[in-house]
Amino acid sequence: MDNKKEQFSAVYDQYIEKIYRFVYAKVDSKETAEDITSKTFTKGWKAFQNSENNIENMSAFLYQIARNSIADYYREKTHYKAVSSDKSQEIVDDSVNIHNEAILSSDMDMVRSAIARLDKEYQDIIIWHYLNDMKISEIADLTNRPAGTIRVMLHRGLKNIKGLIEEA
């Protein structure tokens, strides 16, 4: 148990910023990012404890948990919107106010808002490569896609971000 705790502690130290950034780029607030990141590592730690063998690809393992947690978050948020119409105005829809954000905020906020609206397949690859410094070969391994495809997707992703910002 202590050995596993030490191992996962090291994993936490290694991935906490990357997972946080991965989440932060996809949600609407720092608090939400913190909450989802925390849930990701909690679930990860539980799974890690129960695993008999070592997890081969820790990076893929944690990103998958983070993706699922984000999906859960949006599912709950949509459900909340659907069941509570009087509160709907209070819920920030990050796809609506990109224009205002572009005027009032920095390039970072514009890009972040655009990433949040990006198709999922481009979203992850952009974050991994540009925000978390993953090499194209690593993303290729993680996604089981050829490196060339990743390269093309990165190019298209950037193009889509540009389009989303300019559309707003």
Binding site: T42, S106, K162
Partner: protein, 240 residues
């Protein structure tokens, strides 16, 4: 919005890349994650808790065992002490309780139990008289009357089919007649018992000598010489 350059997008991505959670939150979140695991750890420790409970249970059981043992010794001591009590003594009810328990354990019932109890009370009276315990004599006589009444009633309803029981009854009553001041003519229950013994003996196959003794007993009983009738029955039963 106006056109945005690739350079600004890359700049925005670079800024995002520098986004980091606060170090305080990182430490706090880490502690929370491992803290949450304490719960399962506690659950995992349940066997040790159970072991502690088990130890407590054993200690409790030992205490209980000591208590039960002490209580048992006290009861045994009390019963042992009560063995030497007589009717009228404080602990005499315990002696009676012990007799009932013994009767239950030895599957003693009906007439046989009545006989044992009556003989015990007769022995109590004999002892009380011998030791000069005058305060016990009234209670002993009272106990004899009660038990004699029960036995008489039982003998009217059931016949005795073994000679040893007749011998025991005769022996007990003979002891009673030996007690100073005993007068069987005033106790109709004892008279009834003697009569029942005669009736039951008539039903059994007797030797000529025994038949003669029984005829004598009948005659003595009719003459209200109960002590002598009892002597004949006692002799008959012992030689049958």
């Amino acid at each position: 919005m106006a056109k945005i350059t690739q350079k600004r997008i890359i700049s925005g991505l670079e800024e995002l890349k520098n986004i980091k959670p606060s170090s305080e939150w990182v430490i706090f979140a880490k502690s929370q994650i491992f803290e949450e695991q304490k719960e399962p750890t506690i659950l995992n420790n349940q066997p040790s808790l159970k072991f502690v409970d088990f130890l407590k249970f054993i200690i409790f059981k030992r205490k209980l065992a000591y208590s039960v043992a002490t209580l048992t010794f006290m009861i045994i001591g009390l019963i042992g002490f009560a063995e030497y009590t007589m009717p009228g003594d404080t602990l005499f009810p315990i002696k009676k309780l012990a007799e009932r328990s013994e009767a239950a354990l030895t599957l003693q019932s009906g007439i046989k139990h009545n006989v044992v109890v009556l003989n015990n009370r007769i022995n109590d009276l004999a002892l009380a008289t011998k030791e000069g315990k005058k305060e016990n004599i009234p209670s002993a006589i009272s106990e004899i009357n009660v038990n004699a009444s029960e036995l008489a009633k039982n003998l009217k309803e059931n016949s005795i089919d073994d000679i040893s029981t007749i011998k025991d009854i005769a022996s007990g009553l003979k002891t009673l007649t030996a007690v100073e001041g005993t007068d069987l003519t005033v106790n109709t229950d004892i008279q009834d018992i003697i009569q029942s013994l005669i009736i039951d003996l008539e039903k059994t196959t007797l030797t000529e000598d025994a038949k003669e003794k029984l005829d004598n007993a009948k005659k003595l009983y009719e003459d209200k010489k109960y002590n002598l009738a009892l002597e004949e029955i006692f002799y008959l039963a012992n030689n049958q």
